[in-house]
Point group: C2
Chain length 246, copies 2
């Protein structure tokens, strides 16, 4: 088990082999054993296997090729719609049209997502998370026909690995760990924490390719830009309002 | 591995046995192998072992007894503080003071949390998630001294199991699954989906104890009330503003 966790790589190329229904079912059954707030299970999983629909979904994930290539795409959604319908049907007026409930449902969805990923990896499948889901939630809602009360929070592509990438770097554990209280980072701490990452050959390459002074600028000026983040923040907040969480 | 996932139970009673540092370290090292957006690792984990601090933390989790009883309490935080400091130190103005970035960081924190939980369970430890974290984020921030850019999103208690609870119920898999597009629930679907849950002896007991007509009312009138959700939504939104994400 620990081995599966330690050997995780994001897989971005898949073989043409499909995933049998029974295997996908086993993985999802395992996934839904994840803890959920009050055992309310306020999430849904939308399975996209149809080639045409995957082609329509791909541009909503900034045309990352995995969406069209992987046999299975799973969209994990915060979902109070089902729970609300149950409450209404039982003369129990639901009070879940607010931000706290969105966070509760998002937490449920994300713990299930990670459970599904590890279950898939333990069966020899490869997965890749698509962080684009929160950026394009409005358009994903339209394509997957998500009703009020439902917001997509993450997407995972699943298939048999067609590549064996190296393990990617992580910051040293002590960089993300705090004992008892948060020990804020000094100038020297930051230099130390990011030293190895900044000196990876691959990252030095990114800096050069992008004509930047350093790796941090690749993030702020190229990959995760302020203007984009602000634009998509507004989109996402509108989505929360439209889907009944604000 | 699949076995660990399938056998998950929330453990709310722990033995007095402490968790060795080396074991906790192995679990956390495995945990941080989780996927993170752009490999930014925008999360932090605060480890609370000190008895006095756990006693202070307990009321912030509505005095759930696990906080004072478990040898280790882990608070998983969305954290752009470290990344922002790195960017600022590298002449790369960060653009992460917005809602999208809060969601990005929350997703990172939650995937790591679930990885840590499964790593812990694979080593024979028991865990319990505390959904109270998002309710009391403001007070947790004060106690754990979390700076701007950092918001706690979930908490996990960890220790050696002092109980062996039954596996809890889940809705049938097809209740949370949608093929290709979201198939909204009919009146009959809802009755079918919730039938087994409503007829569990334990849940019939909850309804009687609380003098309610049915299980849904136990949720709406007792456990997760509209007024509370609205109050804590406002608190959480204020926290996002104060911590620099709005």
């Amino acid at each position: 088990m620990l081995n599966v966790i330690l050997n995780h790589r994001s897989i971005r190329k898949y073989t043409s082999q499909d995933i049998p229904d029974s295997l996908l079912n086993d993985i999802l059954e395992a996934g839904i054993r994840a803890s959920t707030t009050g055992n309310m299970q306020v999430y849904s999983i939308v399975v996209t296997r149809d080639v045409e629909r995957r082609k329509k979904l791909a541009p909503l994930h900034f045309s990352q090729p995995m969406v069209a290539q992987a046999p299975v795409v799973l969209t994990f959604c915060a979902d109070f719609n089902r729970f609300n319908k149950w409450c209404e049907q039982r003369n129990a007026p639901p009070g879940y049209d607010n931000f706290l409930s969105f966070m509760t449902a998002s937490i449920d969805a994300l713990l299930v997502a990670q459970n599904v990923c590890l279950a898939a990896e333990s069966k020899g499948l490869g997965i890749c998370y698509l962080g684009t889901t929160t950026y394009m939630a409005d358009k994903i809602i339209d394509l997957l026909e998500l009703p009020k009360g439902v917001v997509p929070v993450t997407t995972v592509t699943v298939g048999y690995p067609g590549e064996t990438p190296e393990l990617v770097d992580r910051l040293p554990l002590d960089a993300v760990l705090h004992n008892e209280t948060y020990q804020d980072y000094s100038f020297e701490d930051i230099d130390r924490i990011y030293h190895d990452k900044e000196n990876l050959e691959e990252n030095i390459g990114f800096v050069q390719e992008n004509n930047k002074e350093n790796l941090a600028q690749v993030f702020t000026d190229v990959r995760y830009k302020k203007a984009d983040n602000e634009h998509f923040s507004q989109v996402l907040l509108s989505v929360l309002k439209k889907q009944g969480f604000m």
